[in-house]
Symmetry: C2
Subunit: 435 residues, 2 copies
Amino acid sequence: MSISRPKGTMDLLPPLARPGPLQSQAAFSRILHSAGQVLNRAGAQAIATPILESRQLAEHGVGQSSDIVLKEMFEVRYQGGHGDLILRPEGTASVVRAYLENGLKQLPAPLKLWTSGPMFRAENVQKGRLRQFHQIDYEVLGSDQPLADAEAIDLMWSVVQVLGLGQAHLKVGSVGDPADRERYRAYLRELLSPAQERLSPDSRRRLEVNPLRILDSKAPADQELLSELAPQNLLDFLGEEAREHLDAVTGYLDSWGVPYQLDPSIVRGLDYYQRTAWELHHGGIGAKSALGGGGRYDGLSELLGGKALSGVGWALGVERLLLALQEEQSLQEPELGSALYLGALTEAEQPAVLALARELRALGTTEFAYRPRPAATHQREALRRGARWLGLIGPEERGSGRVSLKDLASGERWETGAAQLAAQLGWAAGRDTSR
Amino acid sequence: MSISRPKGTMDLLPPLARPGPLQSQAAFSRILHSAGQVLNRAGAQAIATPILESRQLAEHGVGQSSDIVLKEMFEVRYQGGHGDLILRPEGTASVVRAYLENGLKQLPAPLKLWTSGPMFRAENVQKGRLRQFHQIDYEVLGSDQPLADAEAIDLMWSVVQVLGLGQAHLKVGSVGDPADRERYRAYLRELLSPAQERLSPDSRRRLEVNPLRILDSKAPADQELLSELAPQNLLDFLGEEAREHLDAVTGYLDSWGVPYQLDPSIVRGLDYYQRTAWELHHGGIGAKSALGGGGRYDGLSELLGGKALSGVGWALGVERLLLALQEEQSLQEPELGSALYLGALTEAEQPAVLALARELRALGTTEFAYRPRPAATHQREALRRGARWLGLIGPEERGSGRVSLKDLASGERWETGAAQLAAQLGWAAGRDTSR
C-alpha cells in the first residue's frame, strides 16, 4: 500500500488530471491572481509571514479560551527544541506581529497590507473540514476612520465580483466599543443567570467569563433557552461613537452601491475586536456558509506587546471560494493551450527538434517528443497533452531547414522555415504567452 | 516586549520598507515568476502538495538514517492526534507521493511537474541557516532516457540565466547503478577497514551500513584519512550502462552549449538515487555554495509503495538564489510605481475622489487620501508612497468635473476631465498595469 497525504490536506493538480474544485491548481491560482490584482490596484502591499509562529502569538492573537487555541492548535516540536512553536491558525496576528517587529510604523500610514497562504487547524475531518486550508488576508493598519472599514468591505466585495460570484452577500454589524460590550454582557448575565441550570455546561462556564460566546453556542439546550428569552442584540447597546462609526461605514457602502444587509447578531468572541464586524456569505456552500469575515481590531497590537495601533481587515477562505465557484458553475475550464508540440520522424532530425525547442521556449510553451516517432503517433501525443500546434521535422524538412506545421484546432497544415515559426504562431519576442 | 517571529524564519516585506535580500517580497516573487515561466514554457505542469506529510513519507523519501530525519525533523502534534505528522523537509517525495496517490500515471508520460513552497528543517540557526526555507522543484516522471536528465539540467540552468546570475556553475556526475555502488562500497570497505580505528565514531558505524557517507564527513579525522588514502571515485566504478547514460547526458549539454564541469566526487547518501546527479553552485554565497541540486531517482516510487517509476528532477533554494543575486548586485530595485494618488482639498470633494478612485482601480493602481488636505500635503504623501501621479480635486475642479493632474516624475501639470483620466495615464481598459 502506498503512502497517503495526511487527513484534511489536499494536493493541487494540473488541468490534464481533470481535478475536482478543491484540487484544481488552475482555479486556485486564478483566485489568488484575481484577488492580488484587486488589492494591488488599491495600493495594498504584498507581504508574507512564516508558517511557524510562537504559541504566545496565537494565544494572544486568537484568544487563550478560544476553541482554536484550546482544541485545534497544531504544536510543532523538534529535537532539543524549546521554541514553543505552532502552525499559524490565521493570518491577522502574524501580519500585526510583522508590522511591529519590522518597524513598518515608519511607512506612510494608513498602511494597507495583504498576504495569502496556508493556515492550520486540527479540525474534525469527518465533517469534510480541511486541516490545511488557505486564506487571503487584507489588513489596514494605522487608521481609525470609518472610511478604512468601508474601503476594506468594498475591496472584499470587489474580489468576489471579479471572480464572478453572483450569489455572495454581505452582512455588516458592529460589536461596539469595550464599554458597550460591558453593558451588554451585564445585561446577558442578568437575563441568563436565573435560568443558568438550563444552560449547557460549557455555557454555564461562559456566563461569568464571556457571556457573548453563549450566543454562538451550538448546544440544543442553549439554543432553546435563547429562542425562549429572545435577548436584545449587541447593536441595541452601541454607544454614540460606535453608532456614528457604523452609520458612516454603511453610508459609504450605500453611496457606492455595495449591497449589504445590516446584521444585528454579529458578535466576536475576542475582546480586541471593536466596532465594525462583517461576514461574507454564499448560499450555495452549505450551513456554514461563510466565504470569510472581517472586522476592526484596534486592541490587538497592545495584546501583542506593541503600542496602540488601529487596524481593520478581513480574510477570505480560498477553498470556500472554490466551492462557491463550483456551485455557481463558474469554475472555468482551463483554456485550450497555445502550446507547440515538436517531434522528429527519425533519429537524424532529433537534434534539430531539440535545438528548435530550446530556442522557442524563450517565446512560448514548447514541448518535444523524447523519441522519433511516425507523424500519426506524434499527433496523438500532442492531442493528449492539450497542445494547439504540432510541428514535425522529417528527412525532407531537415534537408530544406523547414518544419511541417499543423493547427490542431482547425486541421490546417503548412510548411514554414524554422526561423519563421515563432512569428507564424503569433509568438512575438518579449511577449509573455505562457500565462 | 513584543512577540517575535520564531528563530530561523523570515517575514517578506514590501519595497517601501527597503527590505534586505532575504526579506524582499518583490525579489522573492520575481524569482518564482521567472522560474515558473521557464518551466511552464517547457510544458511542465504546476502542482502543489501539502506542508503536512506523514513521518513515513519522510523516512522513506529522505532516508531513515539521514540527518534530516534523525535530527532536523519538525514533528507536528495535536489534541487526540495519531497522525504521525511532520513538516515536509523537501519536495521530491511529496511530488512522487502525489503522482501515485492521484493516479497521474494516466496522464501522458513523461510527465513534467513543478512546484514551489516552504520546506522545514530544524537547522542550527546560529550558523544563519533558515528553518523555514523555500524551494522550486522540477520533477519528470516516467522516462529513463538521458534526454530527460539533460533537459532537466538545461531548465535549471535556464532559470539562473533568466534571473541574470552570471557566476553560477554546474557540476555533473553519476552515482551509477545499484550494482556499481555495491562494487564501490566493497572497495571503500576494503580500503578503509584496516584504518578504521582512525575514523570518527560516526564514520566507523557508516563503514558497514553506508561507507559512501564517509566521503561526505566533515570530521577532521575522516578528512585526514581520506586525503591520505586518496580513494578512487565512484565514477571509476560505473558499469557500461551507467557510463553510456552519463555520456549521453553530457553529449546533449555539449551540443546545446550548456557549460558544466564533470565532477567525479558527487555522491548521494540515499540508495534510490541512480545514475545522473548534479549540483548548481555559486561562488559568491559562502562555503556551502550550492544553489541547488538534482538527480535521477528511479528507485523512489517503489520505496513509497508504488510501482516502478523512473524519475529525475532538481530543487533550487529560493533564499540561496536571493543571496546570489545580492552578491552579483543583480537584486533589481523595484521600478518606480505607476500608481495614481488622489486627494480632495476640502470635505466637499471627498465623495468625488472616492467615486473616481473606485472606478480607476479596474484599470490601474489608485490610492486615495482618507482625509481632505492642502495640495502640498497630498503631494508629500504621494511621494512618500512612491506614486507616479498626483490627482487633486478642489472646489474649482469639482465645479467643472475636472481633475488637476501632476506627473511627479517630470513635474508637468495639467487639467483633465475625470472621464479622460485613465486614457491620459495610458491605462487602457482590460490591460493589466498592476504587475
